[in-house]
Each structure stands twice: as structure tokens, then as C-alpha cells.
Symmetry: C2
Subunit: 188 residues, 2 copies
């Protein structure tokens, strides 16, 4: 039996992306974004939703670029921190003990400590009310060496990404339950 | 040391949403969408990206509504199946052993077996090339009774959602690593 929860922003799994950009004065800044995901295959695009009041909004609009950095479980406190303070008040990279690396491909820094980073050019924006979707064209994905998995996939346990439980806590990813584009064939 | 993977569609975690709609002849249909996520807080919105060639694209455009259904680990084969066959050829609900329930709120069915379902009205679309983002205004979220967690969150182990590893496999969600809007305060 299902129970109505009302018009709430719940979905599973949700990410805890670290979105990095240079602020209008050129200083690296990050924010945490749980509203986002891959948006298209060709051109490869990722979307992150940002409130227009945020420093990151102005930063991405000014530079037309951002990076999406995937924190692992060791970075849970840093990822949470980047979502509860403003880059207008504090240097979030320094306070969180993170290292900003200048991207050679887009006008944005990426987070050295994150196992996977996506370098993006701002492609489109879409105003949705409280948040504006910033859709980035993925120019390159960089992953720590040694994370290669089967085929084009990365090793999930090696990446060890955070999963955000809206209104609750962060989780790690657990056991594999089957191969994609394979386990469904038993139902054909 | 980071290694370049090129412009690929990788991010962590990715969902395996089951998007349900009535096809133009009124028959319930589902597809699997890994490209999507929450898009805005107010109005509460969720986005799923769909190729215009898909039956679900025509269905959602015709009815201006869809549901996003969160499969759990027990539904991994069904979720995979719904991504490898077309509703133009087979009745995916029947073949996957899933039950379509008529929503009272939007012109779309939802999946009885999924622990969490989001009923959505089509709010905006955005063409991104290979995929079009279908942005749904969340009208209601329904969850199985007994899934209530702390505060407004649902119990992650009870929901037991699938995580998609692009190019690889499906995973379950694992252990909690800390409370959101709390563990980051140690860095302040």
C-alpha cells in the first residue's frame, strides 16, 4: 500500500556533485549539487541545477564553464561542508582541504582529490523557478589511474561515490546485482 | 594521477528510473532512464532525458504526463529489460511482471511494485541533440508504507534503490557515512 508524501523532491539515487568554477574575481570555488545528472548522449551533456542567488551561478555565467567532481566516501564531510557555507564568506577549497587544479580545456578548476571529474563548457541554461539548470557540454572526463573496470565502465568500488538521501544522510554504493543490458534478457 | 577518458557520459551515482506513460493508443508502457534527476525545488521538478525516436517520447508529448518509478534491487532484471526492448514490439509491463496502476492525479500509470513513485505533469522540454529533456512538475510522491526514515527522508535500506554504473552493472546502495547538513560542520 502506498502513502502520499505530497509534492516533494525525492528520488533515488541522488548524487552529491561538487561543482567547481572560478568566481568573478578569479578565485576557485565549489558548491554541492544534488539536483543534476547526465542530460544527453550526443553531444555528451550533464546538468546541474543552481539557485540564481548562488556565487556559483554568477561564476558559471561569467566563465561559461564549470567542472563536475565526483566525491568519494572519504570526502563526505568536505562535500557536505561545500553545501552549507557560501564562497562569498569563506574559501571553501582551503577550508575543506581540497586542491584546485586549473583545467587546460575549460575556464574552471577541478578538484584534485575527487576520483572522477568532468570538464564542461556551459551549453544551455533553463530557468525552472527556484533553480536554473546549467547544462554543460562534457569536453573531457578524467579519472584516477587504476579505476578502469570492465569495458567502458569504471570500477564502482574504486570510485566509491557518495549517494545523497534527500533530507537524510550520505551513503556509499554497495554490491553489484547484475550486468546492464544483460540481466534483462532473461525476461525477453 | 588522472587519466583522460574523453568526452564520455559518466557520472556517479546514476539512477535507473522507470518512466511510465500511456502510449498514443492508451496502453501503459515503461522505459528505463539513467539520464535524469531532480531539477528544481520550487516548483518541485524532475528531469528525464528521452530520445525523440522512443515510443515514450510520443506518449509523454501526447498526454503531457509521466511517472518516475524507483525500482529496488529485486526489480533489477525488470529495469534492465525495460531498457533493451521497445514498447512498440512488446507489452513491457506484462513481460516484466509489473502492474500498471492508473494515477488519479496525472494522465499516466505508475508501477505498483516500485517502492517510490513520482507523478508528474510535463512542465517544459529542452532539446539537447540526441536526447530531449522532459521536465516534469512533481504533483505527488507516493512511497510504500513503512519506508519513513528520519525527518523527511525515507529509509535508504528500505527503498533499496538501484544505482547504474554506466557501461557496466547495477549496484545496491550501501552503508551510511554521515548525516547531511551536519558532518560538514566539523570543517567550519
Amino acid at each position: 500500500m502506498k502513502k502520499s508524501l505530497g509534492a516533494v523532491t525525492l528520488a533515488f539515487p541522488l548524487p552529491a556533485f561538487l561543482v567547481a568554477s572560478y568566481d568573478p574575481s578569479g578565485r576557485p570555488n565549489i558548491m554541492t549539487a544534488a539536483w543534476g545528472g547526465i542530460a544527453s548522449s550526443d553531444p555528451p551533456c550533464i546538468s546541474v541545477s543552481i539557485r540564481p542567488s548562488r556565487l556559483s551561478y554568477d561564476s558559471i555565467m561569467a566563465n561559461r564553464a564549470f567542472t563536475v567532481n565526483i566525491p568519494n566516501a572519504r570526502l563526505a564531510a568536505a562535500a557536505d561542508f561545500a553545501g552549507i557555507v557560501s564562497g562569498r564568506q569563506v574559501d571553501k577549497f582551503a577550508k575543506a582541504g581540497l586542491t584546485a587544479v586549473k583545467s587546460d580545456l575549460v575556464k574552471a578548476p577541478y578538484v584534485a582529490e575527487c576520483p572522477v571529474v568532468l570538464e564542461c563548457e556551459l551549453y544551455k541554461t533553463l530557468d525552472l523557478g527556484a533553480h536554473t539548470m546549467m547544462i554543460g557540454k562534457i569536453i573531457d572526463v578524467k579519472a584516477e589511474e587504476g579505476l578502469a573496470g570492465e569495458g567502458s565502465a569504471l570500477d564502482m568500488a574504486g570510485v566509491d561515490p557518495l549517494v545523497f538521501n534527500s533530507g537524510g544522510d550520505y551513503h556509499r554504493v554497495g554490491a553489484s546485482v547484475g550486468k546492464a543490458f544483460a540481466i534483462g534478457k532473461t525476461l525477453k
